[in-house]
Symmetry: D2
Subunit: 287 residues, 4 copies
């Protein structure tokens, strides 16, 4: 993701320093005109903004607050724009800590798979101080097809991202249950998928529904254990905001069941196997 | 629904006799060239096929097996094409009973609101004897934009319809939970809906999400108590086919909660109020 | 059940005519002083009250409304006391129909296994016209250890019975989930059961928990498919009374999963295998 | 809790130093022969064992690892016996850290309300090194009515405690749903409770069922927000051990709904109000 985003920033004419723990990955951008930084602090030094795209809360905290972290290198008035899928609590902590050094913090998580990042088709959801969001609009435009502004608090963008992930995983579960019914009714799953594609006319349904019906869950585009992480963020947010979300609870229980039955490294769409197994249908996977 | 479908059949050049319990509704089609029948039997008499579009199992049974019912008027080799949303069990019973009189029975339920019916944009899912389905293909083409064939058993079309309804109501529930989260996060629901529309790019999401956000649940396009009926058909099918469907169970519990809190005659999209109420949010409705 | 109850009525000094579809079963009571009836109507003829104990709604309807049924034999002012576990709707129908013939109808379902019936230790929950309930108090005392009066409407006794069954099956599910956790924590299930027995000090926990831990589900004391029937009655009542019951919904889904995985004829306590299977634990059963 | 436990230790003839953040609470034990310590470290200094009984993970970590914490005062070969309801992860961390200083760590959480602690009727579940558990058996006997040994890993005792809490809160939820049904059926809740008491014959059912029926949720014996904490520990354990627990998920969602509807400081038994509210029943509480 980060690689494609950096390349698109360069293509849009921005000066870009890149840092990656695996230096080789960063080096790949040299030909595109990127400067290679030896640490997050070095990448931040003298920059208007640092964009971070990392796996989880811990990784963002490490890269931000470490001795050679972003916060150590960033000038007052410059911004840390976090694009990772992180918890609302971590976004709030980042905002607080950067504010102490008069640095700006924005959350700007994205929707879209790596292919979308490469094609500059990400959906960006930004939040934080309105003037700062406006100031960095060209950055968002360089990496995505559309930018939405969620609010004046950075963590609100993360709430939208977490809510969107919830909507997506719910579709996979619904497909899983419906396909289990179709299979037990002797109906060709492809037929049901065709009807749903005609009904919903959504590329997202087409992709996820197709993955479930295809039944090839390895190698994974997005591993199930990361799906469980995302569902965990939904539940964390639901607790913090005091919002019961029974669909999310089922997503969690079914992700756990998938994990317990050997699907951790399979694609998230293999979540549908849980409904199939519960219906007594034969499923591929560990034996 | 039935009115629009009959009109489209006439427009396509078919000869049509219409019967409605409320004769006035049938009379409305006289100008379009329809013959008015005094009973289902009379409508069936001499026809190649009778299409029925009714509220529920009981209504279909009454119209089919009554003294002046379809079965009494239909010739051997002619067909009863049931387009209602009925249970798998009722479809099987209809198939059995018509077979006894050497009549053909097909299920051909449709997806689409009345506007779609008027615009000839219904999605038709047909099932039953393959030769009969092929024979009546022109009928399906006259009323819908596309026809899918679910299988050789008529009830399989009803399983697809029931499964599709499950997918739709699941979207409303997911929206309800996500919007409750957004509201408690101080995020404008419209903003979240815009992001979801960009993400899913589905007209169906746009419509249902828009209804939920709009918050005007009366007058209803499709009343919640009929939504509960549809969810009941899902659960009936899930039991019969022995398929646990935890999402469907939640849909049922939330429809019941909506009913118990005075929403029976509100639009089905008001299902989202249940999640809001559970999150302690103020909701419109009975006080 | 019926046999033990009839014997206890005889022991208490009542005159008893017995009818069973399998006449041999009835004959077994001859030595205890019972008169053998050739039909429900004959058993009802001249009696103050007819007690029926049958498998389900259909069986009660057949025995009551058939040509040689209870209603045909019962005198005005005499009572039909239904002790079966039936739906609230069926209880209402029985009350209405008997009222038409000026016969009394009471519901008096019982809690207790066959051993409890033999030992006169059933718990009786009676409902219906107060004077009639009082009049037949000696009958209830003859078969049970305690009688509770649920209300003036016969079906209210069935609601209590259905609610009690819900409480019991919920315990089995809770045990199933907790034991799955213990097993994955490497904790001896017996140890957890011992703690729970000390904590709840309930013979019912001891029995059901012991069955789950014992892991011998065949031959069954009470088959799982009948448990699903009972859960179905809970859900029917919850719909009719408009009460969402998410625990009951899970019981239904897990009973279905058990059925789909070959446990229909196993003991109801094998419901716990569903939680174990979902946790990826090895379970006995069909391979 | 701690006060009663310390008093029982003194009564059993043990020498006891007590520490409490609120020194006055500790002083209350002076008359019973306790020595008052100025810090956890001081209480630990020279003792064979330190028993800690605190609110949550954070409190235990503070008291153990602070500068004047237990770990700083405890001699090699002496033991920290944690009786708090904490996470499995925290128990593992405590075991690891104490091991580094060649100190013993045991988990020995308890079941029982303060009254049970005062009456020496707690149920103790101990785990950790077998020899150490045996060595401190007299301590457990001094405070409880029975001690169970869960395993050789300290955290296993916490798993049993967490599992037991799950069983208890499940009973409250089941009661909530059943009582909602009874109320809508016009059945006196006391009647249903009487039947359940006869059926389950469990003091715990009597207490919790009685609290729900009583409907007086303030002042609280055990506040609902602490119940949510306990349910959170169940879910944490279920995730770590990869065990889907759908009942626990519902407990979480309903605790959240209760919190969102102003019940945080009410008694945990007010969880039953969620089922009542979902059934459209009038409930006491915030207006």
């Amino acid at each position: 993701m980060g690689l494609s985003m950096a390349r698109n920033l360069l293509l849009a004419g921005h000066e870009v320093s890149v840092y990656n723990r695996t230096r080789d990955k960063a080096e790949a951008l040299k030909g595109d005109g990127a400067r290679i930084a030896g640490s997050p602090a070095e990448a931040a030094h003298g920059s208007d903004a640092v964009l971070s795209m990392l796996a989880d809360d811990q990784a963002v905290a490490d890269v931000t607050f470490g001795e050679q972290g972003i916060a150590a290198g960033l000038s007052p008035g410059a911004a840390h724009i976090s694009q990772s899928t992180i918890s609302l609590a971590m976004a709030r902590k980042l905002a607080e800590e950067h504010a102490k050094s008069r640095q700006i913090y924005l959350s700007a998580p994205v929707f879209g798979r790596p292919e979308a990042a490469a094609a500059k088709k990400l959906i960006v959801v930004a939040a934080g101080d309105g003037k700062a969001v406006a100031r960095f609009q060209p950055v968002f435009e360089a990496i995505g097809r559309q930018t939405f502004v969620a609010g004046e608090e950075a963590w609100q963008a993360n709430a939208v991202k977490v809510g969107g992930n919830f909507m997506i995983v719910s579709v996979i579960e619904a497909f899983g249950e419906a396909f289990a019914m179709m299979r037990k009714a002797g109906i060709e799953p492809h037929l049901f998928l065709d009807v749903m594609n005609e009904l919903f006319a959504s590329p997202l349904y087409k992709n996820y529904g197709g993955s479930v019906v295809g039944g090839v869950f390895e190698p994974a585009g997005f591993v199930l254990k990361l799906g469980l992480k995302d569902v965990g963020l939904v539940l964390e947010a639901s607790k913090e905001l005091t919002v019961p979300m029974p669909f999310a609870s089922i997503l969690r229980d079914h992700c756990l069941s998938a994990m317990a039955n050997g699907q951790a490294e399979m694609d998230l769409s293999s979540l549908a196997l849980v409904a199939a197994r519960n219906a007594g249908l034969p499923v591929p996977g560990k034996s």
